[in-house]
Symmetry: D2
């Protein structure tokens, strides 16, 4: 049973392979009357695309988005919105050599086992190229949230061993795009960029962490029990290629603390109820409480490296995979818009879900 649909009311279905004719996404459930700005979607895609800076892969993809349905005279009609991105830059010969070998820590082996064969061209469906459709759909979700004042920011808080020690509260969210690594702290950004460049020169890769902050989220989003807002955010992030960890609010560190330290006391300040601390990360009992929602997403190092690796061939024999080709030495700068997009999809869906909570 398939897994290419995400969301319940604001629901997206993605399709397409790295080297097929196109990738795309159908958004079903966007309310009618929303202004849809193609340029806004395109700008989001441009933040994800390869080749945008010296620290990303030099592979070029234009990723022009086409609106195929659901928009009339600049507004959503209530019909499904299909977005299409045609694939370019096909060089099948680059990938022919992957036909016969399982790349370590890629999905080649598991796809072959699950489906009996695989589209080996550039990873096929397992390629991170699929995330472009998430960014495109997330842009529509972001347009919906704009009306409500909700703002979502993601930034790189760790690249390899270089960590940004400051909390998001000390940072200027508007400066995220002021450097190519998307870390809103100039000094740390410089160290990250330096490490990424060294890594590329070594033909290696590194992982990293993205922090995401959601501001102005109204109280009441999220559903009790299984569809807690934090659970849906966690699933959204863990569904992104290469993600190995998710923590919200105090996260793993919170496990070491005491209840008397960790509990977020309520206060009424001039008629407004808030909490004095925010270890909960803006969500209590699975439901947003009006404080900032913040969480971290851990990415493993990119599996494609320029070094030689031991592996097994499709026919089962031990072999060696020579490293070559263009790759991202560190994926997190380009993953920033993906994290934002997935967060926007979750919040937009729960925003619509909350419309029927009360009579």
């Amino acid at each position: 049973m398939p897994g290419n649909t995400f969301g319940t009311i604001f629901k997206i279905t993605s399709f397409g392979e790295s080297h097929g004719p196109a990738i795309g996404v159908v958004i079903d459930g966007c309310p009618a009357g929303l202004e849809i700005d193609r340029e806004f979607i395109q700008k989001r895609l441009d933040r994800r695309k390869p080749g945008q800076s010296s620290i990303t892969t030099q592979r070029k993809e234009e990723d022009q988005v086409h609106i195929m349905s659901g928009v009339f005279e600049g507004r959503s009609t209530g019909a499904p919105i299909a977005l299409l991105i045609y694939n370019k830059d096909h060089k099948p010969e680059d990938y022919e050599r992957f036909k016969e070998v399982y790349r370590p820590s890629h999905a080649d082996y598991t796809y072959d086992q699950k489906y009996g064969f695989r589209d080996y061209r550039g990873g096929g469906r397992s390629s991170a190229r699929e995330t472009a459709t998430r960014v495109a759909a997330g842009a529509i979700a972001t347009l919906l949230l704009k009306n409500t004042g909700i703002k979502i920011y993601a930034y790189v808080s760790q690249a390899g061993y270089v960590k940004l020690e400051k909390s998001y509260i000390e940072l200027d969210m508007e400066s995220i795009d002021s450097n190519i690594v998307r870390c809103p702290d100039a000094e740390t950004a410089d160290r990250m960029i330096k490490l990424i460049e060294e890594t590329r020169e070594a033909g290696d890769s590194i992982g990293g962490v993205i922090t995401c902050v959601i501001k102005n989220c109204p109280v009441g989003l999220g559903e009790p029990v299984f569809d807690k807002l934090n659970a849906d955010l966690g699933k959204a992030m863990l569904s992104i290629n290469a993600v190995k960890g998710f923590e919200i609010g105090s996260g793993f560190a919170g496990s070491e603390s005491k209840g008397s330290e960790h509990n977020d006391e309520f206060q009424n300040t001039e008629g407004k109820i808030s909490t004095t601390t925010n270890n909960s990360g803006g969500i209590q009992g699975g439901i947003s409480n009006g404080e900032d929602i913040y969480f971290k997403v851990a990415f493993k190092p990119v599996a494609t490296i320029a070094q030689s690796q031991n592996t097994v061939s499709s026919s089962g024999g031990n072999t060696t995979l020579e490293g070559k080709g263009r790759h991202d030495p560190c994926v997190v700068p380009r993953a920033v818009p993906i994290v934002e997009a997935m967060a926007a999809l979750v919040i937009a869906d729960h925003y619509l879900r909350s419309k029927t909570s009360k009579i």
Copy 2:
């Protein structure tokens, strides 16, 4: 739109409040012909129930499970299996005082805001009592997986600041229940128990971490893109009360490593393909690769403490909540069967989902 259903083919719907007549769960999608052993379900529940040891809450709940449907002559019929646990130990007067006050880091405030009012008796729907139904349903999933050889183990790897430094590989999974804290390392268990007892005496609480290992999972479970096996496991865990973090395989630590270190090379050893390392945590491209699946789940400290806390009343005024009543100083020992249950539900669902992957 509601969130009380989990799973796609092996699908559970839970209901019930802490102090209503009963809690229960309907399992729809269990294949016919499975032997259903009521005692097996009951034993799983007994591992979760309060009052089972000196380090858990002394509140007594019997939690007898009743099979209301879907089983005939000891086997599942293909019809929905409804499991019911009647509530006992009602002392409404214990909870009347929560009617007018928002307990810090509980769901009182968010429920009131979302729904306009709340069942304040013992937390109502937001009570962790709801997790008993997960354990009951998870027991049925476990029975289904037994046929396939898949085994799921969870244990306490951290209680407050006391951490078990060993990897699961060094531990004996069969010894988890040999102590009351459910840590399969006697020396660490003793330190954990000591810390929990000190915490209770201080009227405080601590958090902790549970590690879960899934052995003998066949290759091919999990779906590409949104319903990756790791994403569904993450959602399952993050939907458990008090969970703030999830990491699989190398997790957050993996973000610091290099691709050349982190990649799991394939090898063919006597006809069997495996990986030489397992930083992926048994899942690649969202699909199980036949290696052990392992992940960690971070729990915050229990919000109910015996100390006085500042807060706000239901009518909005600043007030103080006096701590009293029975509570768990550390929830993780009792959460072990919940983590196992949720893991079993995810794996059982994906096991059934995989039946239609190929023609």
Copy 3:
């Protein structure tokens, strides 16, 4: 993959067998704050229960409904509402003889083939007793619709060959329960009752037709393409045991007409847009247009009869089934509340779905 859940936002999951401990239903998605009147639910159930009049089966079932969750101080809380009806009147020996024989036009054979075995006691899950849970859940949906002014009426318009020739417009919907056959035309009702009594005396059964009318439905319910309001009403009705046909508006007769006769012209009368005719049955393009919605549901004759029939045994040999036991000679009078309940469930669900159609 299971089929015991119905609806998308207002979603019900039913469980239980004819002769197990209980039948029940979980309603997930009922908005918080709705007044829930147990007596209202009970009265609906009483209209469906066996033994209520001389023309229904004389089998007695009390069918007392118990609210297990989701209601606090008389109002829905937003949590799932579980309703339970304990089974009584168990006489296993009555059903032991069905263990070894496939009753013609029942589900014994298909269940055995699908599941490998079956709960043969009173039909198990395939028993029409399951429809009691639909009536109970439908009562909650009806309470939700009451707030909006929507009214749903169903009545018997045909019993065997006795047909009510009048349109619903000529009938008094408030007089439906004025006779035991639930036909709001006294003269026709008498003829129906007479035929049903003759049928029972002959040890036979007859089918019938129920007409349903939905008044005051607002414009805009129903979704384009697959979830058209008429498609969801049709599925709801065709999922009721013994239903073989569904037609809405002009129905099968409309196929014979010309477009120039059949089209419903619009008119503006004192500021209100309406149609001059209503061949569409209140739905255009799958969406309600504000006119009365009306449709017909065809029931086959009850399969249980008091006559001897040829059939096959569970082990495959040709055999004879002797007729005996209590049965309904005509099911439609008792099916009236089932049709109303299923209609209420569809309309309540689409009412909630429509809340997110526009920004």
Copy 4:
């Protein structure tokens, strides 16, 4: 909440408007390894397309299908299959006049009310052009069913008042396409064609009935309670534009019969269990019993006619709509492949669903 997805495991999501850039469909859940023949899909589409014969609309649409994803080296990969059909034949000026007027028995008024505005070009999303995507997706379902031996046939059994009185058993299913009206009885076909031609000349339209027969369906497809096979077939058919009725097996006529006549007795003939009659229409208790499944679908007359009609303008005033333009005088010949496609989608989905019925 949207309604553009159909199915549970074999699941399709359709998109596109009559006069947008393209229409399309994403099929998620097609098992890997299925041979996908583009020409087969194209031929199915050609049977639906306008302009194919003298009795259909003379509007020309080429409807070339493009496979955008999910197929590699001629076989399905397990990834979603996206099919795209670019729109041609745009003449906006033809439709500009519909901007300001509500066409009787079309969806103009209900869309405007539901969404606040509408894409008025050729009916936008409500156009029957959307059904081309059903035919394309249904072709993939048909390829899946081919492997199992299941065959689906639909034909015109009534056009206006001209009815084919023979049962499907007396007809040669292979001769359906031997005439342009798709009625496998030459003499009746001639009368139908004559009536359709007269109707077109009169600037009017007529409805009709399509009969569908499913042969070689294995025992055990369909789910108890809500997702009965007949209920899902009914919903599928009632979701097609212009459908007002559905009946299966004995249908409405069966309501008049007696149980002793209507019951289908079982017999064992040389080791094979079958029924001596088939009033059930091949489905008992919602589950296929191995006999032929057959049902009828009633279509109202096409709403677009060449005659002048009274109606209301978008701004609410009474007005007159002049008839002109190309239209189908009778839609049923072109609806035959749509009925077949929807039937194939339902059967394919239930075929996959049945894979997890038993352990």
